[in-house]
């Protein structure tokens, strides 16, 4: 791989061309990504009010430690980030098992199941707040229809069911995506491997445990990490459906940052910046930690 790169990359360094190619991207990156990141960290050590900024040292961070709403938000986001990957990848594995045997119309199923992930969280959020509607939502109507009418409830309106209901929405959205990636990974394997497994005619559990999971391990781990990262950032869906309510039960770190920065009338941008900074460090360490663990785990395998 390294030698191939050496051959590919041209030997001379035409600086004029390099700078011209890179400069626009770097300018945009520095102005609208790097500088804002630095400025957020800078904010976090200040009170940032419309009339000016005052240095307060670690005061924002000290406040953060004592802020029960922040910890509530962290708890909810972590539950979401840990439950979702398992649900999404779990459903995707079961679906892969179904599509793994050659069924007619596999292409159609693949395209249909992928659809939810292409829709914005705004569309999905509104749609599912209707599905969860107490009086006429599809979920409660189905429950009443099969005789479980006393299970019907306002799913997004109760502190005990709101977060699970939202987690379910993201799983609905992303299961198809995970399935498609998983299928692509399975199809990229040499066909003899799969055919051999077919011939052995082991049961569906055997196929899952001895064929699909081990052969797509790298992809599965990747999907778990990807789903985890996605849920650590989640904002849109909560904002459209519950705005963090009822009683903080669906508050996530993102919605709390937004509320403290732009909804509460404190006008201080320093404190929400401190939350964002802490969360940034946590997300980046989690990603680095997970990818290190995964690479480490793979090495141990051999």
């Amino acid at each position: 791989m390294i030698t191939a790169n050496h051959q590919n990359v041209s030997q001379r360094s035409p600086w004029g061309a390099i700078v011209t190619f890179l400069l626009p991207a770097l300018v945009l990156y520095i102005a609208f990504t790097a500088y804002p990141v630095v400025r957020t960290f800078w904010n976090s050590f200040h009170h940032v009010l419309p009339k000016g900024e005052t240095f307060v040292g670690l005061e924002n961070y000290a406040e953060l430690v004592k802020d029960e709403f922040f910890w509530r938000a962290v708890g909810n986001t972590l539950i979401w980030s840990l439950a979702s990957p398992l649900l999404e990848v779990g459903i995707a594995l079961l679906l892969a098992l179904a599509l793994y045997a050659k069924v007619p119309g596999a292409r159609f199923f693949r395209i249909a199941w992928f659809t939810p992930v292409l829709m914005s969280y705004v569309v999905v959020g509104i749609l599912w707040s209707w599905i969860y509607n107490y009086e006429w939502g599809a979920l409660n109507e189905t429950l009443r229809w099969i005789g479980l009418g006393n299970w019907a409830r306002a799913w997004l309106g109760r502190p005990d069911t709101a977060l699970p209901a939202l987690i379910f929405i993201t799983s609905w959205m992303w299961a198809g995506f995970n399935l498609v990636v998983l299928l692509a990974a399975l199809h990229s394997l040499p066909s003899e491997v799969i055919e051999a497994a077919e011939l052995d005619n082991c049961g569906w559990w055997g196929k899952l445990v001895y064929v699909i999971v081990p052969l797509t391990k790298a992809t599965l781990l990747n999907l778990l990490v990807l789903s985890f990262i996605g849920k650590m950032k989640i904002f849109d869906l909560v904002w459209i459906t519950t705005k963090g309510g009822p009683l903080w039960s669906t508050e996530t770190v993102s919605t709390y940052v937004y509320k403290r920065a732009f909804e509460w009338n404190t006008f201080d941008l320093g404190y929400p910046s401190a939350i964002a900074a802490v969360w940034f460090v946590i997300v980046i360490s989690a990603v680095l930690g997970l990818s290190w663990l995964l690479r480490h785990g793979e090495k141990l395998e051999y």
């Binding site: 035409p14 770097l26 904010n43 705004v122 459209i240 929400p272 969360w279």
Partner: protein, 271 residues
Amino acid sequence: MRWRLTLVMVILGFYTMFAAGPFAWVALMSVRTTTEITANHYAWPKTWHWEKFTEAWFGSGYNVYFQNSTLVVCSAVLVLTVVGSMAAYALARYRFPSNRTIYFILFSTIVFPPQITVIALFQILVQYGLYNSLPGLTLVYVAFQLPLTVYILETFFRRIPGELFDAARIDGYGEFEVFWRIALPISLPAISTTVILNTILLWNEFLYAVVLITDESKRTLPLGIQRFMGDQLEDIGMIATGLMIAIIPVVLIYAFFSEKLIKGMTAGAMK
């Protein structure tokens, strides 16, 4: 063995209803009036009220939201494609100090939570008079999608055999000609993937828009829908029509480029 296939097909059918059913439901509601919907939420439309789309378009401001979204997304994707492919080309094809450092920093940005930039971007755009303006939102969108675009294109540029470029240089092509007349045409499949992917992702973007845009006349579609939903919570029929206006372009793109879109979306997850 027959019954097993039947069982599998039944399960697949159920899951398809579960995954796509909600969209069919919205589509049906979008051509029914709220009165009809309230009478029965799951009935087939008796008369198809296509006029609701005209009503939403002209009467509820969806024409403005749609135009704003189209303008922002198209200009952002255009800039992204030009700037992103140039940067990806430089990173993939030239050896220079700090090449890998730049690549690594850009690449890591893909996992950044957006909150780390959103507050400061608000301050910066206010300072430079770009707050609450479509050009401001466009620039933010370009920066937001740049890392992913560069990542996808860099991978592609890197795979092109070097002999091709050497041959072009021997023929007397300058560096820009090599990029413009060799690299770009070859990379058209990868470039179109990023174009389609960025279009969908930015069309759906909500967080930056909600922070950086406040004017009614500058709202993008997701903001417009949220606003309409807030004002007319009970008017389910019209909300459904609005949702369809946002969904239809996505469905059209998906209908024509499903494989490309799937490839783009899953590019980061494959290993």
